[in-house]
Every structure is written in C-alpha cells, then in structure tokens.
C-alpha cells in the first residue's frame, strides 16, 4: 500500500464515522468465522453442549482447548497427498481460463468482427447453465477420448465452467479502458499482440487478479467436479474430498470439519494476499474519458 498522505492529522478525526462503520461491518462479517476458529480448538462433546462464546467466561483455562482436531486432520492418511492434488488441480485450472478469457475479452472489446454482439450474449447466458446438467454428456465424451480420471480433463472442465464469468468481467473492464491509449499504440504501429501484452494485460491487472482469486477459490473448494471427473481414490482426490470422507456421511465428526475448514482456507488466503498488490489504484496517467 503506497499512498501519498499529505493531509494534516486532523483528517483522522474527521474520518471517525468511516472508521466506525468499517469496524461494525468487519465485526459482523468476522463474527461467524471467529466462532468457527474457537470451535476448532474445542472438544467434540463441549461443542455440542455449550456455545463457543462460553470460553470467554474463563478464557485462560487452557484445558478446554486442544489441538486434537487439527492433529487428527493433518495426520490422517493421505492429507499431504491431497494437498498436492489440490494444487495440481487448482493452479492450471486458474491460469488456463485466465489466459483464454483475457484474449477473448480483448477481442470482444476492441476488435470488429461479424456476430460479435450475438456471441457475447451467448457467452454471458452460459453463466446460468447449471453445471450439473452438463456432467453426463461430458463424461460420455471423456470416456471416448480417454480423458476420464486425468488431470487434463478436470482442468478443461473447470476452464469451461469458469470462462463465462471470466470473459464477462474482463470484457467489462477492458472495454472501459480509454480509447486514446490504444489508438496511440496503434499509431505507433504496434501489433494487436503487442498492444495486448504490453498495454492491456498490465492495465487490466486488477480485474485479472480478482477473477484469478475467484476462480482459484471455486476450484480449490470444489468437490463435485473433482469427484465426477477424477474420482475419489486417494492418489488423485483433492483436500475437499479427503475431508468430506473423513467427516463421515452422518456428520458425527463436526469437530474435524471446523479444523479442516481452516486448514483448507490457508491456501486461498495466501493467493488473496499475494494478489492484494494488484488491487491498488492503477495509474492511468492523463486519461480522461471523453
């Protein structure tokens, strides 16, 4: 966060209402998660008998906390393998749709070709297709192509399901970039590819980063697609499947879920913080929309 702060200090007090409202919203939004975090350190029976806030009555009675839930999740058979599998699935399944969507969004926004509007409408309408309806036809195709139970099959499936949103978000952002920037580059004789890599991609980083975060999250937390296209055997199963199998179909092991939820959250949060720097104010020198 580099922001020029050349205002006097009284600014802070003038901003009091802003601080208070941010504080209240943040508090409400984090309260459920804090509850989960505290619960993840409590024992199973205590969890079912008393509310998580009851620890504040004797917060320093350390016997009521234990790391058992975390240990049990981490030490369970194949958790390390599952993490590797999740990464293997999630990274390409994020990068591939970003690449394809950015190119397509650029074409939709700045190139003239017949049927452009119609194609774009179709792309966005596809957002609403419930992916559950597509499973069986695609699986049949995979069987014929020999793609079932391969990582490539899962990557492509996630790409297909993530593309409409990617193209839609990025087309909106790229289309809003100032025309004169791009025209100036064209006058300099830059090719489309050059404009794209040297101008469009750097300028669209905030939008690309936000799409990257969401796509990564959806893939990382997805259970259905992995289960259907990869199968749940331990050498390919991602963390989500591993965890849901540990908890059991009857949900008696909720205490494991609480710990598992936090363990699986770590990676998406690293991604979010890693891309944080692209969410700052982009510098569009001297570009005012006419």
């Amino acid at each position: 966060m580099i922001k020029k702060k050349n205002q006097p200090k009284t600014e802070f007090w003038q901003k009091a209402p802003i601080h208070i409202s941010i504080l209240i919203i943040s508090f409400i939004w984090t309260l459920p998660t804090v509850g989960l975090l505290i619960s993840s350190f409590r024992r199973r029976d205590a969890m079912l008998k008393t509310g998580w806030w009851s620890i504040f009555e004797h917060p320093f009675e350390l016997t009521q906390y234990h790391l058992g839930n975390y240990l049990e999740v981490l030490q369970s058979q194949g958790m390390g393998q599952a993490f590797l599998n999740s990464l293997t699935i999630a990274i390409p399944a994020t990068v591939i749709p970003i690449a394809i969507a950015t190119f397509a969004a650029y074409a939709f926004a700045w190139m003239k070709f017949p049927g452009r509007q119609l194609l774009f409408i179709i792309v966005v309408c596809l957002l609403v297709v419930p992916l559950q309806t597509t499973l069986i036809p695609i699986l049949r195709m995979y069987r014929d192509l020999g793609l079932s139970n391969s990582f490539l099959g899962v990557w492509l499936a996630h790409t297909g399901y993530g593309l409409p949103l990617g193209i839609y978000l990025l087309r909106n952002y790229i289309g809003a970039l100032p025309r004169d920037l791009i025209e100036a580059a064209e006058v300099d004789g830059a090719s489309h590819l050059k404009i794209f890599t040297k101008l469009i991609v750097p300028l669209s980083m905030p939008a690309i980063a936000s799409f990257a975060v969401f796509q990564f999250l959806w893939v990382w937390n997805d259970l259905l697609i992995a289960l259907v296209y990869l199968g749940g055997t331990s050498d390919v199963a991602p963390v989500t499947i591993q965890l849901s199998n540990m908890v059991g179909s009857r949900g008696q092991d909720w205490h494991l879920l609480t710990a598992g939820a936090f363990i699986t959250m770590i990676v998406p949060l690293i991604v979010f913080f890693g891309l944080q720097r692209y969410f700052v104010r982009g510098i569009l020198a001297g570009s005012v929309k006419s």
Binding site: I22, I91, P92, M111, F120, L126, V128, T159, A176, L217
Partner: protein, 325 residues
C-alpha cells in the same frame, strides 16, 4: 523419494498446463502474422476468440442443447411428452413456492450484497488499513461451503428452553428474556435466515470487483471536483456511481445468476423443507434424487430463460458504452 517424484510430477503438470495454453496463443499469432496482410485482419479476432468458443461449445453449449432436447421427454428420456414438463413446472405447488422464494432471494441478496459491497469498497478506499478490512470481509468466500454450513448451524442452532443454547442467535435472544426461535424451521423466518448466509458469502465478491473499479477512477477527476468544492457525498453520487455504472451492472448480473443457481445452502441447512425450496434445488432433486431427467431439464431451461431479460439490459449498456468511446 516417493514424495519428491510426486512433487516434481505436480510441478511438471502445472508447468505444462499453464505454459501450453499461453504457448498456443503465441504460435497462432505467429502463424497469422505469416499470412498476407488482408487475411490476417479478418482472421485475427477469430484466433483470439477460438479457444474460448471451442471450450465453451464443448462444456456448456452442447450440453445445454441436449438439456433443451431432453426437457420435452419423459423421466427416463424415452417418450416425447411435449410441454408436459413445463406445465408441471408452472403448476406444481412446490415449484410455485420455489418461484416465490427465488424472487425473495433475488431482491434481497442482490440489493443488499451489491450496495453493501459498494459502500465498503468506497469507504475502505479512504483508510490506511484497507487490506485488513477487505480481507476480513472477503474471508467468507475463502471458506469452503461445507465449513460455512457448520458455522451457520452454530449460529442458528436451536435448543429447547432451559437447555444451554449453543446457537449464537438464540443465546442472545434467551439472554434478553425471550423464547428461543427455530430459525430454520419456523416458516415466517427460515427463508430470511438462508438469505442472510448468501449475503454474508457474496458481499466480499461484490466488494473486490467494485473496489477494482473504484480504483480505476482517475485521481485527477476527483481532485478537480474537490477543488470545485464538492463534498464526499456529492462525489460519491455524481462521480463514483456514474463512473462505475457498468461494473455495478456486471456485479449485479453476476450475483443474480449466482442466486438463481444457489442450491447448496438450501440443501445443507433445511433440505428444502418448511417452504424453503428454490428453483435450482428443485432441479437438482428432480434430476439426481428422483432421476427424472425430463422435469430436471425443463427446470434448467426455465432458469436459462429467466436470465434473458437481465442480459438484454446488459447488452444495451455495453452498446451505449461503445458509442461513448
């Protein structure tokens, strides 16, 4: 040794997957550039669009066409039944409840998450601890839904009067001297309880996208307005909102679509009982639990049709944007 080879395999797989697709574009572009001039102008857009269209056709367009086709057949897709599945979808008591609930979801979730997301995006832009506040509000999105459902079970949990309440809301209510409420069971409140979960989940999404748009507003415009004596309130209404109007529309559309597709919240929290069904949860039930492909497909097609008016608004917006450029 086993582990090292696994990790290597993973790195290789990732490198191939990511490198492959980017390389493809470069190769295609190289090939186009080798063509004579008038050709490449016509071809180039298609090179940029082709990969997207190929993937979309395979994974979404073709299955959708199949779904439309199946919606005119019976449960096992054997006999043609005409519009019977659609008649069912618009007359069945359970479906009517689902339509009503979805309307409630659409209005409340879209309205609240988008406006809250916008307010937060504008507010945090002004403070130095922005990343922290943003991360806290974004956090719900990072939790897998299975984890989130546990959280909310512990918020809405009901224990009869006299027991220790393990649900946060009921603990508060009982401490204030009221009877505990069955948040997910009582018909007058359960839909709102579910809607609250979705708002909590997706406000972070709206905030992140809107925030990147707010940051795209050139500094000098705002400076100019300030010099002209506009206060923050006026700047918000007269500069911020108009400047990011198209992003607001995009975010609203995305949330509307997410709401139309929502089913897991309903499944996990109430199972669709006590009048909490929504359209998508009915679709999943018909298709997978009852194995009635005709009805399931018909409901999926209705979802598709519901989105068309929203899309028309979008396209108009993009067209007027084009004229402005």
């Amino acid at each position: 040794m086993e582990v090292i080879s696994r990790i290597l395999e993973v790195i290789l797989a990732i490198a191939f997957g990511c490198g492959g697709v980017i390389g493809l574009f470069y190769l295609a572009n190289y090939g186009i550039n080798a063509l004579p001039k008038p050709w490449n102008r016509h071809f180039l857009p298609w090179v940029y669009i082709a990969p997207a269209m190929i993937v979309l056709s395979t994974y979404l367009i073709w299955p959708t066409i199949q779904t439309i086709y199946l919606s005119f057949f019976d449960g096992r897709s054997q006999n043609f039944v005409g519009l019977k599945n659609y008649i069912f979808a618009f007359t069945d008591q359970g479906m009517l409840v689902a339509f009503r609930n979805n309307l409630l979801w659409l209005v409340l979730v879209t309205g609240i998450s988008v406006s809250l997301g916008l307010i937060i995006a504008v507010l945090v832009d002004k403070v130095s601890y922005e990343p922290i506040a943003k991360s806290l509000i974004f956090l719900p999105m990072a939790i897998s839904f299975v984890g989130a459902s546990v959280i909310w079970k512990f918020i809405y949990a009901y224990k009869p009067m006299g027991d220790a309440q393990i649900g946060l809301l009921n603990a508060v209510i009982v401490n204030l001297g009221f009877e505990p409420v069955g948040w997910l069971v009582e018909r007058y409140v359960n839909n709102f309880a579910l809607i609250a979960i979705m708002i909590w989940l997706y406000t972070g999404f709206c905030m992140v996208i809107l925030s990147s748009a707010v940051k795209g507003i050139p500094e000098n415009i705002i400076e100019a307005a300030r010099i002209d004596g506009a206060n923050s309130w006026q700047i918000f209404w007269q500069i911020t909102i108009p400047m990011i109007r198209s992003t607001i529309l995009v975010v609203s559309t995305t949330v509307i679509i997410l709401v139309l597709k929502v089913f897991d919240i309903v499944f996990v929290m109430t199972g669709g009982n006590q009048g909490t069904e929504v359209i998508a949860s009915r679709m999943i039930k018909e298709m997978f639990n009852f194995r009635n492909f005709g009805r399931g497909s018909a409901i999926a097609v209705i979802l598709l049709l519901l989105i068309i008016p929203v899309m028309i608004g979008n396209i108009r917006r993009f067209r007027s944007q084009e004229r402005l450029r």
